[in-house]
Symmetry: C5
């Protein structure tokens, strides 16, 4: 039901830009605070999709890149067990031109059942409208000591598969071997590595991406490591070569 | 989708009068306790909009000034993490003649997700009926030490943009520079400074407004600083000159 | 939209009989425990309306007096922050012959938002069916030290006005001056004094009512001070003279 | 609206068999664990109605005796303030052949408002489908010291009347005088004594029933005192003579 | 209403594979982590049904074996009183080809009423679409010391019957005698023993299954004891002989 629109040679690099709600403008600078900049970057950087909340999609989406509409979200100002409820209806997302909806499930949260239920409804509505349903699965709550622990990441991947996600966005475990297990656990649900906070160097970040790809990932959803980069266009090109052209980190960096 | 109706030369001064529910009649005196007085002031003072709860709109709205219907609210008698749920349906607001709905989101509250979800639904209904959706974003809850801190105000502004607000009402940070960042964070969502409690002097208040405008605000939503003023008509004129005519505080006060 | 049906010469005395649910039969004696007695009293005592829960309306209402259907309620057996949810739909109330719905909002309760939202929905449905919506506003919860404090009663009145009530039922503050402020705060929403527990003497009670009327109240909703009275018919007559004929306490008592 | 179908000479003996959910099979023995046994007993014992949860009705109800479908319920494994939510829709109950729905309200529970609201909806749907609505009113929660205290039982009866129940099922207070008050408090809602746990002797039980009848009860809803009896058919006959034939305990036992 | 499709000679062996959500991939190895393997095993092992969450059904179900769609679920990462809400609508389950829906009720949990209510709705929808409703009844919460205690297992069985389940999945009590009581308590609802964690030896496991069958069970729902087995095909054959052919453990193992 359509992750294909987000893929090139079976791979995809998605530009994530929902941090304004999740973290606040503290993630931004004078340039990337402007969604226009990111929208343009998505096109010029040849990203396979761009991730927006409804407000950005309504005011900035220019249809040059397929749209993934993030339909839930929360601020990081709230304490306690995390929960994010639906802000955008699937129908509205579709009217805004989205080809997929994104939804975060905080697996392990005391409110997990609320989100599993809501995602369940959203997934069915999305499929009815021929849209893909992508699950951001973030293990959280009392029981989660380390959300990049291999068994936790694999569990996250599996939750997405079981709940009917067409693709899951999960954190990288840190090494190829353990991430392979997560990819296997996701089955036919495509795996997108979560870009995460800005890595110390470009090479560090590219090695993580390469590791995820080598483990079988379809690609990544990346935000801060691109638009917080001093040269976002260059990082976009590097990711193209790494993910779509399937080059090694060294090959990608060469030239 | 229609903030234009509330603007003149791209600017707007909205007369807020939802304090009866939010704070109680303690904000009022013998004159301004009467919504008729405020309704008349809205017209004679050439305000660009008036903000009412449904009860006032039903009984007092005379259509001389565009109506913003505040569709949620709460008393200040309730303790604990704040939440305000929908009291007026969007359809009812439209039938009462509203050109926009207003909704308060207590970002950071333990009930934030309830309000983000509800605003999401209301925003879609409003747009369907060609009404604007204005978000009052008030950061609250355990994690919020100071709700006028620059990063908190900027976050509030961004929450509104991301959630699909056509305009946000936020507190002033206290200086132009930091408020610029909040305005930038709001992107294409228009920014209205929250008038707040009565300032010590008119000049004090006008300087705040001037600061917000210089930072890029579209205008302000003001209640107590007008109708608690000893001469509301005069303050209305001053705001016209400052906001719509774009004069300096000194120019506005002159004559 | 119809408080007129409950008024005579612009005034009204409503016979309240929802105490069976709110307090239990402990309020009753062998005679007034029977709703038939109260229904008959409503007619012979020329009350302007009678307040029933749905069960009483279904089994006892004889259409001789306009019906106000109380659509929410709770027992006094429950501890903690008060909440009363809707028991009777507006449509059902209308089918039972009601000309108005009554709804209690415990302003200040931790569950206030639940009731404001529910009242909001009920009010719209009532108006659509050409029924009035009357709000019983009872401030409760941690923050409420004394629910007859002038500023609290005025706040209650205002909550009703803002939320769209056609009339509010509030407690008497104890003196004319402070109740005037409450009446003013209620604006165009009509004010009915809450009869409250049985007063020590008839004269005591009549003085309270007179005070409320002098402060601008439309009338009162009275239960125990009538049907717990040794001579309910006489008290009904006294209230007629005081409220409808607008006599002084002394004049009313004379003859 | 139809309690008549459950009455004979204005009286009724209802066979209750919802204990499987409420208490578990611990209430049963090899014989009465089988709903077929109880269904047959209902017919041969000439009961005026049988009380089943939906599962029993679907699989065992043979239409020989009018059916009361218990539409909510809970296990006794749950601790804390009691709540039982709707398990069977009124429409489904009707399709299963029910002539009445039964619903338990734990008056005084922290969740009372949930149940009063749900019963309110169910009552209206039942009446629309020409079914009776019977309320099991069980006072529970912190504030309830003794749920057979006269004032508590009378309150329970009144809650049922006010909420629109056609009949209430309440516990016996222990003596005729105090139960009279409960019956009076129930007004036109018919009163069925709750059979309760197995009494020490048949005579003990019959004296309670006689007391309830003498106080004005319409009959009783009895489970364990019949099907836990060593001779259920005999107890059924005794109840017929006591309740329907209106004999004294001594007359009933004679023969 | 159709448990027949899952039975052969009145017996059934269902292949459970919802552990990916309930326990995570920690239950899996390189082979059985792949739903394709399990789907193939279901067919070649002649299972009478396969249990999938919606995600697996959508991506792997090949219609060779009747499908039971598990419509609720949760991860084991969440602490506190358990609750699992609906993830898949009954309509969607039907569209995916399911002949039955499965739903877990944590009887005794503080959230029991939520699940009883939800199952109630699902059961009615399933029956309307001619699908069976199977209840996984797992007693949990403060009050449950040991969830295989005979009285607890019997209670679980009865909850399923009362709530309208066509079949219940319950744990084995450990001996034939006590399990007989559970089967009796389930009445006409068919009883499937829950396979549970991998038993120390095949014979151990077969003895449990034999015990359940001897007590009157219709069969079992088994996952880990098959697909964690070193020779799943062999275990499938053994279960066929034991359950469908009704052989003794010794007879089944012979050959």
């Amino acid at each position: 039901m359509g992750m294909e629109v987000f893929l090139h040679k079976g791979r995809g690099v998605l530009l994530a830009y929902d941090q304004g709600l999740e973290h606040g403008p503290t993630d931004f600078d004078e340039r990337n605070v402007d969604p226009t900049f990111v929208m343009r970057l998505a096109a010029t950087g040849r990203f396979n999709g761009v991730v927006f909340q409804k407000g950005l999609a309504e005011k900035y989406y220019d249809k040059q890149v397929p749209l993934i509409l993030k339909v839930n979200g929360k601020t990081n100002l709230v304490k306690g067990e995390p929960v994010a409820r639906q802000i955008c209806s699937v129908k509205y997302a579709s009217a805004l031109g989205a080809k997929a909806v994104g939804y975060t499930i905080y697996a392990g949260s005391a409110h997990e059942s609320v989100m599993l239920e809501e995602f369940g409804r959203i997934q069915e509505q999305a499929h009815e409208l021929k849209m893909a349903a992508i699950a951001w699965i973030y293990p959280r709550g009392e029981a989660i000591k380390k959300d990049t622990a291999p068994e936790i990441v694999a569990y996250a991947a599996r939750v997405g598969l079981e709940a009917g996600a067409d693709a899951v966005k999960i954190k990288y475990t840190g090494d190829v071997e353990s991430f392979k297990w997560a990819v296997k656990s996701a089955g036919k649900a495509k795996v997108f590595m979560s870009g995460g906070p800005k890595a110390p160097t470009d090479t560090d970040f590219l090695r993580q991406v390469r590791g995820a790809l080598d483990a079988g990932a379809t690609g990544l959803a990346v935000g801060r490591n691109v638009w917080q980069n001093s040269d976002p266009a260059k990082m976009a090109r590097l990711l193209q070569r790494l993910v779509i052209e399937n080059l090694s980190v060294e090959e990608a960096l060469r030239d």
